[in-house]
Subunit: 196 residues, 2 copies
DNA sequence: GTCTATACCCGGATAGAC
DNA sequence: GTCTATCCGGGTATAGAC
């Protein structure tokens, strides 16, 4: 996707933007903020990206592709609820900063909906329906919402705090990754929420 | 704070702002947007509120008080996890528009933290700790995150869509309220997520 | 690739007439 | 209580030199 010759600056911009967007939100972060941390002027930024929205789009490219891949798996074949939830744990880990940005800022949601064939609302609905399964009725849909939200928030909480207070001697796993024990715990909790 | 005699205009402003903030976000909504729907100019708005932040504060007054009430219940005595989750279902129903605004917009979070004795982060941590219970370790904390998120999202989903596809003949409950059956379903799901 | 300088617009907020 | 008019700041983005 990315052009053949990344100058390095482009990647630095993306890293800075990702961090600031996550912390202050997309609309709450200005081009000047990013340029400031980059150590250049705003004008220099526009050599690498043609707009602020462009930066966001670049940051969202990977996560969106991953999400689309999961959705496509729903079109062809019917993965189990466990497989689905498991896939969304991975997605949450890989795109932890982006995950918060996307559904926190309505402006971002709107931008995404402009560039995508299916609206984000439709995509979510499809996931919920797949999690609920056929003939599960309204109760099943509500449980699917519960399980989906549980997966996302618990995973974000786990990667945000890599500490392991219950085993002080054990080496904390590396930050930005999900401890396998945590992963199992989260998946089990979500599955219990999903199944009565 | 509020004058003795609400002209009615003040309430209209709040209603319009609540709807637009919920739909487009706080930063995504301009004073001009609100004034436009109100049918006046922006200057007229400033007769009723001294700033945009003031409008937000007025909208948050009730929900914040309710939240604080729940937290205070944690300081004195130890309510059961079920009672806690139940209280948060009610809170989510009563403040459904505000619930999304608050944790979606980092700007709003920052404003709240300025006016409150405890930061919202601390308040959330306290709730999570109370839900997890003593000596539950990291796994318990993760389950608490899962249950808390499940409660909020499932409740918002339920009130957002008052339809009842599984019983077409039953009269749909009034919008903005939570069907007792839905409520029971959500609470049970969250409790399952919480307890292994 | 990065700079200086600046155009341009939009949002919040105020002054003062009515 | 609402208006007209306006100020001010900040934000995106561009022009053109280096």
């Amino acid at each position: 996707m990315s052009p053949a010759r990344p100058s390095g600056t482009r990647e630095r911009i993306l890293a800075i933007a990702r961090e600031q967007f996550a912390r202050k939100g997309f609309t709450g972060t200005s081009i000047a903020d990013i340029a400031g941390e980059l150590g250049t002027t705003t004008a220099a930024l526009y050599y690498h990206f043609s707009s602020k929205a462009d930066i966001l789009a670049a940051l969202l490219e990977e996560p969106m592709a991953a999400y689309t891949r999961i959705i496509r798996g729903l079109d062809s074949g019917s993965p189990s609820a466990e497989d689905l939830l498991s896939a969304f744990i991975d997605l949450a880990v890989d795109s932890r900063e982006m995950a918060t940005i996307v559904d926190r800022d309505p402006t971002v949601l709107a931008m995404i909906d402009e560039r995508l064939p299916r609206t984000s609302q439709e995509m979510t609905d499809q996931v919920i329906a797949a999690l609920a399964g056929p003939d599960s009725g309204r109760a099943g849909v509500l449980r699917a919402h519960a399980a989906f939200a549980a997966i996302k928030e618990a995973t974000l909480a786990a990667v945000a705090d890599p500490g392991r207070p219950d085993s002080p001697d054990a080496p904390g796993h590396s930050p930005g990754t999900l401890d396998p024990a945590d992963r199992a715990e989260i998946l089990a909790a979500a599955l219990r929420a999903l199944r009565p």
